[in-house]
Symmetry: C2
Subunit: 157 residues, 2 copies
Amino acid sequence: MDDLVTHTEPQPAATPGTPSWAPQHDPKEPETFAECTRAMVPVHEVLAQISGKWTILVVQALSAGPQRFSEIKRRIDGVSQKMLTATLRDLEKDGFVSRTVTPSIPPRVDYALTEMGRELQEPLKVIGNWAHANRHRVEEARERFAEREEEAKRLAW
Amino acid sequence: MDDLVTHTEPQPAATPGTPSWAPQHDPKEPETFAECTRAMVPVHEVLAQISGKWTILVVQALSAGPQRFSEIKRRIDGVSQKMLTATLRDLEKDGFVSRTVTPSIPPRVDYALTEMGRELQEPLKVIGNWAHANRHRVEEARERFAEREEEAKRLAW
DNA sequence: CTGGATCCTATCTGATACTG
DNA sequence: CAGTATCAGATAGGATCCAG
């Protein structure tokens, strides 16, 4: 019982070149790892944006069609007005959501996914499905990690 | 020129039911929006994890094969030892990365993607490709947003 | 070599109150 | 109704020093 080694497969030992994933590049133009890292920056920015506490839920809510501020707020349980405003602003800034103001009294503001926002749903669906399908595996992994932690504590005393 | 309306398509008006994306469900078991929202929680947790400042880069680095702590650190420009440790710990906790300790002197610790970690690369690749392919659209959207902001400022004075 | 412990800063989030 | 302002608490990230 070698608990320390979770190693499932030896894997072909580190190849120092370009990682396999992320944007595919022209094989004629080999990239250094540093260049590849730089290429990942926009990827991270998008991920950082969509992983805001409320972003996914807002996109999800808007996937049902254009809605007013209060409709969205009602749909999303627990969101504060401040955070919903901020989230919508960020999504608008990046071009995922459109904001339509009707200067009436009282004012009316409608939000909707833009073409790009709807396109974003596809990759989001992929990772969403993956996360949903694997949530139990992650939970189990966390439990095993917690057990190993307690085990380590007991050994320390 | 109706700048306020970015609306590209009217879209079929909000349908109050289940959003179209996220984990597909059995059509025989219609979910309320609240239930669907709850189903998104694990999705968000995974996204929150992989959107840490260094997580993607670590997974990317490890996609080249098992490596020691210092190798990973060398690959990732600018990461502090503290954050790399924390990121690796979190990835280990969720079962994406395995940690192998060789109690020699000096100690040697190898990290590698687990089977689940390698599976994660696929959805990550999808969203990575999307982000990379659309980075210019996002940039343009941000510029247009900044312009609209300045325009609004000028009108305010 | 690896990584824990501390201290410090920046950002995020939430609750409340106020405005057009 | 929609949104801004403010204040306080929680977290993430980083720098540095110490230890097995």
